[in-house]
């Protein structure tokens, strides 16, 4: 019995909220502030789990089911996510489709929970979320398709560890384009700048944050933790793609991967510190850009 994927899964479950701490610390440092503790999200989660709950009278069982199903769905995606150059707990052919669709299920229930409140702010956020996601989905899958072609395999756990320095030498430009497309999608799907601002408190301009305005207590804890896991799974794909080394020794590969995740978090922090949020009308263009990058990568690969 191979315990390593299980250990990796536990590590991901424990470390995911840490990434957000690193992002926020980086942002704060760029802005010249000391910033919140690196473990701030853990404290927040602990606090929320000790609270009671307030539910709107407008809502139904769907509002309460939303956080449960959303967190469970992203957990389903995590089961399929390779830990850097080491395979996932669950791996089979075309598991990348299931990966994308678990994230789709998570979004679907979050959107429904938002609509359940009957608030027009939340409806607004829900409408934006589904539109941007519909644009991001094809770009994401096209990137995976290109990677499948390069590595000759259609399972996440087989294709991502397959990417090594030799692969980068052979298909470097295409892989770089895919990585760029995925970075844009990662920022958009995880409600980061330049698509959405996680710190904003103006309901009219928000996307993800406005959808969860009415959740509180353990429900909000599940949503925040689910968002951290989502950042982890999408970040893990990007970091695995960008890591050109593979030692074949579990702890060495794990260290490289964790270092990569840390760098990614710092990178996201740098982007957020250096950029302003785009106007909403510009976001579809950014996502179309991601699609174009992925399509271009595919052309280079297929040629």
């Amino acid at each position: 019995m191979n315990l390593i994927p299980g250990i990796h899964l536990a590590a991901a479950l424990i470390l995911a909220p840490f990434l957000l701490g690193v992002i926020n610390r980086t942002k704060a440092r760029i802005a010249g502030r000391a910033g919140a503790p690196l473990l701030q999200l853990y404290f927040d989660l602990g606090k929320l789990l000790h609270k009671g709950a307030v539910y709107s009278r407008t809502t139904t069982w769907l509002f309460r089911a939303g956080p449960l199903v959303g967190l469970a769905a992203v957990f389903g995606a995590l089961l399929l996510t390779p830990f850097g150059k080491s395979g996932a707990v669950l791996a089979f052919d075309a598991d990348l489709v299931l990966f994308a669709y678990w994230l789709g299920l998570m979004r679907f229930v979050t959107v429904l929970a938002a609509l359940d409140t009957g608030s027009s702010f939340e409806g607004m956020g829900a409408s934006r979320e589904v539109f941007f996601a519909a644009l991001a989905e094809p770009a994401f899958l096209l990137g995976l398709l290109g990677l499948a072609r390069v590595t000759g395999s259609v399972s996440l756990s087989a294709m991502l560890p397959e990417v090594t320095a030799a692969t980068w030498l052979a298909a470097g430009p295409a892989l770089a384009l895919i990585a760029a497309a995925w970075l844009i999608i990662l920022l958009a799907e995880n409600a980061r700048i330049p698509v959405d601002d996680p710190n904003t408190h103006l309901e009219l301009t928000m996307i993800h944050e406005v959808m969860v305005l009415d959740h509180g207590g353990p429900d909000l804890a599940m949503i925040l933790y689910g968002a951290a896991l989502k950042l982890w799974v999408m970040g893990a794909l990007l970091v695995s793609l960008l890591t050109p080394v593979r030692y074949g020794v579990a702890w060495q590969d794990a260290l490289v991967f964790l270092g990569g995740m840390l760098l990614l978090a710092v990178g996201i922090g740098l982007i957020e510190g250096a950029m302003a949020r785009l106007r909403l009308a510009r976001v579809p263009q950014l996502l179309m850009g991601a699609f174009a990058l992925a399509a271009l990568a595919l052309m280079l690969i297929m040629k």
Binding site: L49, L105, P218
Partner: protein, 661 residues
Amino acid sequence: MSLVLVAIGILMASALASLLLARAPRLATACGVAGAILAGLAGLVPSFRVLLTGAHESLAMAWHMPGGNLHIGLDAVSAVFLIPVFLLTALAALYGGSYLRPFWGKRSIGFAWFCFNLLTACLVLVIVARNGLLFLMAWEGMSLASFFLVVFEHDKKETREAGWLYLVATHLGTAFLLIFFALLGREAQSLDFDCIGTMPQGIANALFLLAVIGFGTKAGFMPFHVWLPEAHPAAPSHVSAVLSGVMIKTGIYGLVRTLILLGHPPAWWGWTLVGIGLSSGILGVVYALAQHDLKRLLAYHSVENIGIIALGLGLGVLGLSTGHPLVAQLGFAGALLHVVNHALFKGLLFLGAGAVAHGTGTRDMDRLGGLAKTMPWTALTFIIGAAAIAGLPPFNGFVSEFLMYYGALLACLPGGLANPLPAIGLVAGLALIGGLAAACFAKAFGIVFLGAPRTEAARHAHECGFAMRLPMVILAAACILIGFGAPWAVAALKPAVAGLTGVPAAQVFGAAPRSMTLLMELMIGFAAVAAAVLLLGFLRRRLLQNRPVRRSLTWDCGYAAPTPRMQYTASSFALWFVDAFRWILRTERRRSLPRGYFPDAAFMTTETPDGFRDLVFRPVFAQVRWALASLRWIQHGRLQLYILYIAATLVALLIWYASCL
């Protein structure tokens, strides 16, 4: 086989009995419903038997018609199409018995049940017919019976117009099928399907194109779909379920049968089908997003799902023509499973929409809202259908799309298709369709069932009765069952896939254990998430046990007097999409903005008419009408002269025939 005949017999007998009992609506309904359910039970037995064993049953009798015997047969491909027919018509009949209750005494209920059971019998006959002439007769019966069901509420002008459009469209399609079978019969010297051998490539190509247009009109391929979003919403909801769930699938069945009859396909057929699939799939869901009428939205989703099925068929044809058996098998398996799946969830959703219309009196989404509280059963089953049609795991829609994705991914690998462009299109297209469909059903479910009621009608909604709830619950259960039972559902399709690809059933999906493990692992993924939901639910319950849980207002940004009318509507939810696709949709906007310090009432309405109908077909038909106006003098309404025309034509033909001998 004999049980299929028994089912057809029961349907015909109950149809006639309902017609005779037309004066007693209660008896006519009882007759029609009982007939449909009994026939469904009788017909499901041989269908499942053939599907599971892969056996081929057939029956041929001499008859007084040219072109071969009266020949019917039941193979695994037919069984895949028959199972949804029997299941959905039985459930729809049970539902329809209550649904038509308000019309007792106002409409001829007996005639409605006559048409319903006749339609079912014709659907069965189309699928088991093994003779072109029998097929066409059943096809025409199906079209006419469904036409009368569509115009059930013929006192409404838009219903009559929808029925008229449907009648014209379906007969134009049938005209292509007449040419199709005439050409087929001339080449094979017989209309019996068993006697059709290999054709010259040119003839096969012509037959394929005729089939795409003729069958595609019935199936609702874009741009032959224009009748579909008009006719399906106009019919009573249980009929809409049957029309969208199974009747349009006879078009797919015809295409599948054509592919089997014509043998080895060239690659461009696959390209054509993938192209049709992409245009139907993407445009179907884009049009659906712009709709306000719940049933119209569902009708456009039928176009979308037919597109997905066409994508699977196209991938199968490409795999077959280029010698990639696994790609072909996955494409066909995905398409066939989606045929069954779409019947289940679209049937379910139309029944749900009917329950909404029944309980509130309106189908306009912007006048609904908050129905999840007053109609809990409908809401629960509708959300399962919505998640399934959006292709989300762990429901059945995901499984069929997963098979297609897998096939397309394999086709793109090195050593896959020489030109993988259609497979790439399939992956990107399915991803886009999936995202848009999820958005559309978030809108449909969210606006209708969630939030607060927007009007009085929605506030006073009532749940439907048991006879209407039971069919929805059964269909929702089937959606979950095929999702979690994916390995067995796909294994059951092997004989049918074998029939399409021409390999023995045991060899479908290559080394059998591999494909089974793949789907088993998929199922482990489903089970893990389901377990996680239960565990998290349990944890939250424990956490909240001794803590305050209050009910309060929705956060309204400090505004003190929110009203339900301030909620996001279906139109506002879809605004991003409508704006992004305005170059296709051409949505018409009428509005009067509030002006001055004391503004008057303001309004804004949007409407999205079908572009193909208004910009393509309407001008063409106007020209045709103008051109044919000069022949108007023949048409004067005198019956005896019409009979004279027929007699004269016959005599002329006989003379021509005699001179040819």
